[in-house]
Amino acid sequence: MNVIVNGENVSVRAKTLADLLQEMEYEGEWLATAVNEELVHREERGTLKLKPNDRIEILSPRQGG
């Protein structure tokens, strides 16, 4: 299935957001996720079913002013 991760088109086998993070080798506690402009809490990632063309944002802490 094709989805959009951080603005890039990618083809994944993952069925849930948690699967996608694993498939794309995202790891660690410091990730925040949103799907189609809605926050997905970390504890909801395992149950959030992905659909084709979902827009997924994966953010992490960075330097800021």
């Binding site: 951080n6 603005g7 794309m24 080798e25 995202y26 790891e27 660690g28 506690e29 410091w30 990730l31 925040a32 996720t33 949103a34 402009e37 809605e38 926050l39 809490h41 970390r42 944002e57 994966i58 953010l59 992490s60 802490p61 960075r62 330097q63 800021g64 002013g65």
Partner: protein
């Protein structure tokens, strides 16, 4: 001389940004030298599987300071609100430095969207630190929206110009005597920070003036001292300027030799 931000008591009146340092070591040295207890951070797209952001924030945690996430770069209410929610999910804090940029060249806040976003976020339990202008009416609207802190600019972000409208900053202080006021953005020199603290401001938030200095750690220390000096001076009671000289040495009792 501690003060309170949304129920959290802090002693340092310097809030420090974490961006644009020459190296992570320079950043941690500047944080330590500044004595700051609050640093600002952002959220950006992760491209290295979680390792980039993880490494950075672990370093910040080791410094033992409060984290104030920002919504830097957001241009729309929906974008800022979602970023704030993602920041809360990540950092486990209700604090959010709310930035809604309204102009690409000056990076001045879009105060109309700022008030709207502040209301939405306050209603959802966020404790909003709004980056705003020095406009009194906007300040009032932000308070009505639920903000309990105001952060007016003194000049455009990163400009290093220092206070451009001192009467406006003075008016804000007079209008909101019981609200923590933090000057955010536009500082260039330690004396700029002293100037706003002498106006009775509660704190200063700065980044580029420190991170862009030749020696960021020393500049962080310089700003900390300048802020403390301004605060002490304000609390001690400043003399008002006058047009004519007033002799400091008593005139009475002077010898008469003529």
């Amino acid at each position: 001389m501690a003060f309170c931000l949304y129920g959290t008591t802090v002693r340092s009146r310097l809030l420090l940004g974490t961006a644009r340092y020459p190296s992570p070591l320079d950043l941690s040295a500047a944080v330590r030298q500044s004595g700051t207890e609050i640093v600002t951070v952002s959220l950006r797209r992760e491209t290295a599987g979680g390792r980039t952001g993880g490494g950075f924030i672990e370093m910040i945690r080791d410094l033992g300071v409060h984290v104030l996430p920002n919504t830097a770069g957001c241009h729309a209410v929906s974008e800022a609100v979602l970023t704030a929610k993602m920041a809360r999910d990540l950092f486990r804090t209700n604090w959010i430095k709310l930035e809604l940029i309204g102009h690409q060249d000056t990076l001045q806040p879009d105060v109309f969207q700022l008030v709207e976003a502040a209301r939405i976020l306050s209603d959802e339990g966020f404790e909003v630190f709004p980056y705003t202008t020095d406009d009194l009416v906007v300040g009032e609207r932000l308070l009505q929206a639920g903000c309990k802190v105001l952060m007016p600019w003194c000049a455009p972000i990163g400009s290093a110009m220092g206070p451009q409208n001192i009467p406006a900053l003075r008016s804000m202080r007079a209008e909101f005597p019981d609200i923590p006021l933090i000057v955010d953005a536009g500082m260039g020199r330690p004396s700029h920070a002293t100037t706003v603290m002498e106006l009775g401001y509660d704190a200063v938030l700065l980044n580029t003036a420190v991170s862009g200095a030749g020696d960021p750690a020393s500049m962080a220390r310089a700003f900390a001292l300048a802020i403390e000096a301004g605060k002490l001076g304000y609390d001690a009671g400043l003399l008002e300027p006058r047009d004519m000289a007033v002799p400091s040495t008593p005139v009475i009792g002077k010898g008469v030799f003529a």
